[in-house]
Each structure stands twice: as structure tokens, then as C-alpha cells.
């Protein structure tokens, strides 16, 4: 079924030039990751009073989530190798051809980790970030470099990683508060 979905989606490549150009941009290693990271970076400084403290806590959760999901996806990639769809199927690949394991997809996992962090503090912006993360995962499948299950597993790992990071931040809340107070003395929080 995974293969059928990839082939069905990828059969659209070449039909609409503008759509392929959009997918080529979205699937890039640099568009969504940099956009998401810039939003997370700006989130540290956004808001006033307790709202800003909350934003700073979710920024830390986002950074922690990125780190955790990077470790987790890297570990699974290392112990379980699944060939990329373009290796086994006849596809029009819109992206360069990676040689590492397809499962789970690291790219959407990072985007979903960031989106989850933003969603914890700002529902509307978080929903938009989830939309962007979904589009990123979709573009990876459409372009023929991942199976849908790779993207879904990556998304689940990204969400879980940020939830774990946020839970740790809440458990170590007094330490986090102390850290923020120190940074506030330097007028950076």
C-alpha cells in the first residue's frame, strides 16, 4: 500500500510545472527547516510578561525536541535499513537521491518537532506550522524520496520528542526558571 501511494502521488510529477516547482522548493533541505527555526528563534523574544516566559519554555522544548528526534531517527536509521522508494519503484525523482535509510524520515520529524513546540504556546501559529510540516512530509513522498509510512513515523517521532522535552522542562521547572532569571539579568530574556 505504501508503494501504491508513492506511485500514485508521484505519477502527478510533470503534469503541472508550477506545482512541481513548488514541491521542489518545499522538499529542499533548507526552506522548511530554516523557516521553522527562524520562527522558533523569534519566539524566544516574542510576547510580554508571563506569555514571554511560556514562549521561552516552548522554544527550549522545541530545541530539545529537535535534538531528541534527531538522535532517535538517527538511531532507527542506523539499526533498520529501508531502501528509498526510487530504488525499488519507477519514479520521477524531484530531489537528489539520498543513500541513507528511508525509515523514518528525519526531515518531517524536525518540522513536526518545531510545530509541536509552537502549538504548545500559540494554537493558531502552531496549526500553521503543522500545515507547513505536513506539506514538507507530503513533498518528500510526492518527490519519490520517502514512503508515506516514513513520513508518518518521522512526524510521530518529532511530536513525541517535543512532548518529552516539554515534560522534562516542566519537571525541572525551578532550574529552568533560574536559568531564565540569569539570562534576564543580561537583558536577553
Amino acid at each position: 500500500m505504501d508503494s501504491d501511494i508513492v506511485q500514485w502521488l508521484n505519477s502527478g510529477v510533470g503534469r503541472f510545472g508550477w506545482w512541481d516547482a513548488l514541491m521542489r522548493a518545499v522538499v529542499s533541505d533548507y526552506l522548511v527547516p530554516v523557516l521553522g527555526s527562524l520562527v522558533l528563534f523569534a519566539f524566544w523574544f516574542w510576547g510580554k510578561g508571563p506569555g514571554r516566559v511560556r514562549n521561552q519554555m516552548v522554544t527550549m522544548a522545541g530545541v530539545g525536541g529537535i535534538g531528541l528526534t534527531n538522535l532517535a531517527t538517527g538511531y532507527v536509521n542506523h539499526i533498520y535499513f529501508r531502501a528509498r522508494p526510487f530504488v525499488d519503484l519507477d519514479l520521477n525523482v524531484l530531489f537528489y537521491q539520498p543513500t541513507d535509510s528511508s525509515f523514518p524520515s528525519n526531515a518531517p520529524s524536525l518540522a513536526f518537532a518545531v510545530a509541536t513546540a509552537i502549538f504548545l504556546a500559540h494554537r493558531r501559529l502552531g496549526t500553521a506550522m503543522y500545515g507547513l510540516a505536513f506539506l514538507y512530509g507530503f513533498a518528500r513522498v510526492y518527490s519519490g524520496v520517502h514512503y508515506p509510512s516514513d513520513a508518518l513515523a518521522g512526524a510521530a517521532m518529532g511530536i513525541a520528542a517535543t512532548v518529552v522535552a516539554y515534560s522534562l522542562i516542566r519537571i525541572f521547572h525551578p532550574l529552568v526558571r533560574l536559568f531564565l532569571r540569569l539570562v534576564r539579568v543580561a537583558h536577553l530574556a
Binding site: 533548507y30 523574544f45 537583558h187
Partner: protein, 138 residues
């Protein structure tokens, strides 16, 4: 050894971070950290143009789907260079706006903590005020 692409990636992030900071500081009314402190809408416009401009430049100037095992950057390198470029953009913003808005910031008498001080003064004035308060206490 950083490649041409590494430099372009760092510049892309640096300009994007400059723009994002202007958008956020303008949204928070932190005039002390704005390049155009007299006008919040102008600062929002500047921030938006910087963010939009850097994305358009980066993706329109050359093909960017480069293998991360070849000419592109892998996740670790991206993280490293994002941190360097973002921190540089923050430092430059705070230092340059401290110089640009120094005359306006002179009347600051203290009392605001953290980033909130930037609503009434510049970063360097706020830090100097905090240091002098700490020195008086000790």
C-alpha cells in the same frame, strides 16, 4: 573548511534572523532594538522585506537541492551554522541599535527587567544600568 555554499547558507540565515528580530521587536514595541526606532510600521516592513528577500535570493539565485553528503550541508552543519548566523544577527542588532538609538535612550532611569527594558532604552544602556546597580549593591 567552509565552502561557498556554507557561506551562502550562513548569509541566508543571518539576514532572515535580522528580519525576524525586527519583526518581533517591533511587535513588542521594543524601540531600543529597532533600526528604525521612530516608526514601528516601518520596522515591521523592514523585517518582512529582509525575511522575504533572503528566501527569494537564496532559492532564486542557484539550485539548492544539493546532496547533504556532497556540496550541501548535513543536519549537524546546518545546526552549527544556523546558531552562528543567528547569534551574529542578534549581537549585531543589539550593538548597532544601541549606537543608533543612544540619544533617545539617555533618559532611561532603570526599573525594567530583561527584554522589557528595550521598550525604554537600548541594550547597552540597559546592561550598563544593571551593572551599575549590581556594583552599588556590592
Amino acid at each position: 573548511m567552509p565552502t561557498q555554499f556554507t557561506f551562502e547558507y550562513a548569509l541566508f540565515v543571518f539576514i532572515g534572523a535580522l528580519g525576524a528580530l525586527q519583526l518581533v521587536f517591533a511587535g513588542n514595541g521594543m524601540r531600543g532594538a529597532l533600526f528604525i526606532s521612530r516608526s514601528l510600521p516601518a520596522s515591521v516592513l523592514l523585517g518582512g522585506l529582509l525575511v522575504l528577500g533572503t528566501f527569494v535570493w537564496f532559492f532564486a539565485s542557484a539550485p539548492r537541492n544539493l546532496p547533504d553528503t556532497g556540496l550541501g550541508l548535513d543536519g549537524n552543519d546546518q545546526t552549527r551554522w544556523f546558531t552562528v548566523a543567528g547569534a551574529t544577527a542578534l549581537a549585531l542588532t543589539l550593538l548597532v541599535t544601541s549606537a543608533l538609538n543612544d540619544r533617545w535612550a539617555r533618559t532611561y532611569r532603570g526599573g525594567r527587567r530583561g527584554l522589557d527594558a528595550l521598550e525604554q532604552t537600548t541594550f547597552l544602556r540597559a546592561v550598563a544600568h544593571t551593572l551599575s546597580r549590581v556594583r552599588k549593591r556590592s
